[in-house]
């Protein structure tokens, strides 16, 4: 069956820009998160998860990792790590949630919040360049392209799509549901947990689900 609208595969290649801002205490981290760019929050959360996709346990975002590794504050790190990016549809929402957690901790623990760490946190940000990879008009074409899809493209369509679509879904599910009318496939794909999968295993799982849909 030929779709009324093709799925456009895109890859995103990222440059990391050094912002020049750093943090040596939890208070400075809080201030940095408050004033850094959206591209910086994106880099240290969504991008961080994608960069470390092969760590499918115990890694969430750069802020949590620094609080654990450099500040030795496991409870605060756990709270920051519990931020579920798949439930977030805007950077503003992520920033507000991070600040809420940090504000609470710094208010209740002013001495720890002012303590200098051994290693600083360096705020960076993402500069994105998008490049089209080609179209798929049928589920079969989609499946064949998906099977060879590089990590950057998986990240773009499956993870960061939430911010672009401003929906709690991904580009694949969005196409399955809105263009092909395959609600069940869309739901199953959207249920794949990116925190416990690598980009490879998530891609393989989607291929499996599409194969099943096609009766393969």
């Amino acid at each position: 069956m030929r779709a009324s609208q093709a799925f456009e595969f895109v890859t995103a290649s990222y440059l990391v820009q050094i912002s020049g801002r750093d943090a040596g205490t939890l208070v400075e981290l809080q201030q940095g998160i408050e004033s850094c760019s959206d591209a910086s929050v994106f880099y240290h959360t969504f991008q961080s998860l994608a960069r470390h996709h092969f760590l499918n346990e115990g890694f969430s975002n750069d802020f949590a990792q620094w609080v654990l590794g450099s500040c030795n504050r496991p409870a605060l790190a756990e709270a920051l790590a519990s931020l579920d990016l798949c439930e977030s549809v805007s950077v503003a929402e992520i920033r507000a949630r991070l600040l809420q957690i940090l504000d609470g901790y710094c208010w209740a623990n002013p001495r720890e919040a002012a303590q200098r760490t051994f290693e600083k946190f360096y705020f960076c940000e993402t500069v994105e360049e998008q490049v089209p990879l080609g179209s798929a008009w049928t589920l079969e074409e989609f499946r064949d392209r998906l099977a060879e899809l590089p990590h950057a493209s998986m990240q773009f369509h499956f993870l960061t799509s939430r911010l672009r679509l401003q929906l709690r879904t991904n580009d694949f599910s969005h196409w399955f549901q809105d263009v092909l009318g395959l609600q069940s496939l869309a739901r199953s794909v959207n249920r794949i947990d990116i925190y416990t999968n690598t980009l490879d295993s998530a891609r393989d799982r989607i291929v499996e689900l599409v194969d099943r849909e096609m009766g393969r």
Binding site: S13, L15, L55, F59, F118, C124, P150
Partner: protein, 410 residues
């Protein structure tokens, strides 16, 4: 003008597909396709020797294979010029600058000579390190992008040298650093490019078990007992004596061996002194193997790393720490100090273990020797970390993205 001698093309892009997947290589070709017809010029100060020349010798052919016009040029100068640039290099990394003020004129005079010798007509010009930095005088106003790639740590430079160089750097369109910690406040965008290793090079390629056995036999290392290895120059910043102390703590609990392999002792008086200190600390322990290797020992280093139970980098100060990258690539559990670029590579308890002291290093080594399953998992995750971020193909991708970024602003 001296054109750098590009090494024969040993490895082609498709050779990397087995390690990265065909999709990743196809993606590089797609990115490069958007830059069709564009030209690139890389300029540095030497065609052989040193990490930058080694990196360019490998990266230039790969970019060429992507059908982009790339030229690698090398500046020339007399001994007086290179004496000045060496002094700059050390001073920018925190050392003292004790040359007379005329040395700045020497630097400018040779830069002027190189400006007249070299041709600057590429779409993207990348200048590597401080030696050729003043060539930016040849960039026409509002011209094509010039980018300064800084491979050294500029976080605590000698201010006299930095104040001399900064006005040149500020005229570039952007600068690239190997770590955010190495950057400086500049009025131009600063990008982060991690250093990288070539997985197909002699130092990192897979080896037959027999080759590894032969190297161990050559150095009289016992393959049946745990081997702890640090590969680095005999330099105080690498803390080889501290590592011997850490090993001595571990030795109380485990019948293991320590291998300290590196160069820098033969032609460096400080290296010789450090080597003597290490030998003294080692005493008569036959399980401490101190190997002073010549620069052409890539295969031996590869074999020693692959034979190791644990790789250690107990540095007090470090650049990026490519020996850590090499260990991780070989799926080895790594214990390393949390300095320089090491924490970028070692995510504590995920891709290796960080330490901050002799006792800490000893404890982490004991932990890994007691928990081989955890050690194996760290090694596997460390390998993936390198595959994703610190291979030469990733740097090709970073350059392509940088060119796309500037091409989009034309």
């Amino acid at each position: 003008m001296t054109r750098a001698a590009v090494e024969p093309r040993v490895n082609r892009l498709d050779d990397y597909a087995g390690l990265l997947g065909a999709g990743e290589i196809a993606e590089l070709r797609t990115l490069a396709g958007r830059l069709e017809g564009r030209t690139i010029q890389m300029i540095n100060s030497t065609s052989v020797g040193g990490g930058v020349a080694e990196m360019l010798a490998r990266i230039v052919p790969l970019i060429e294979e992507l059908n982009l016009g790339i030229r690698w040029d090398v500046i020339t100068g007399g001994d007086d010029f290179f004496a000045v640039t060496k002094a700059f290099h050390n001073a920018l990394q925190g050392g003292c600058f004790d040359l007379p003020d005329e040395s700045f004129q020497t630097f400018l005079a040779y830069s002027e000579q190189n400006r007249t010798r070299l041709r600057f007509d590429a779409d993207f010009t990348i200048i590597h390190d401080p030696q050729p930095a003043a060539l930016v005088d040849s960039r026409p106003a509002g011209g094509k992008p010039w980018i300064w790639r800084c491979h050294i740590d500029l976080s605590q430079p000698d201010l006299k040298v930095w104040k001399f160089l900064a006005p040149f750097i500020e005229r570039y369109n952007a600068a690239i650093f190997s770590s955010p910690a190495f950057a400086r406040q500049l009025p131009i965008p600063q990008f982060l490019f991690y250093p990288s290793i070539d997985p197909l090079s002699e130092k990192n390629r897979e080896l037959e078990p027999q080759v590894i056995e032969n190297v161990l036999a050559e150095f009289r290392i016992d393959s049946r007992r745990p081997i702890l290895t640090q590969v680095s120059r005999f330099d105080r910043w690498k803390d080889p004596v501290g590592l011997v102390r850490a090993y001595q703590h571990v030795k109380r609990y485990f019948d293991c061996q320590l291998v300290l392999a590196g160069g820098g002792a033969a032609d460096d008086p400080e290296g010789e002194a450090v080597l003597s200190e290490v030998m003294e600390a080692a005493g008569k322990d036959p399980d401490i193997h101190v190997l002073s290797l010549p620069p052409w020992s890539a295969l031996e280093i590869n074999a020693l790393q692959r034979a190791s139970t644990i790789i250690i980098q107990k540095s007090l100060r470090e650049g990026f720490g490519l020996t850590v990258t090499e260990g991780l690539w070989k799926r080895k559990p790594v214990v390393a100090s949390a300095v320089g670029g090491i924490p970028v590579q070692i995510i504590h308890k995920q891709t290796g273990l960080l330490c901050h002291s002799v006792e800490g290093a000893a404890y982490q080594i004991r932990f890994l020797l007691s928990n081989p399953a955890i050690a194996q998992k760290l090694g596997e995750q460390g390998h993936e970390h390198v595959r994703e971020h610190f291979l030469i193909t990733r740097n090709v991708r970073r350059y392509l993205t940088l060119f796309l970024h500037f091409a989009g602003r034309d």
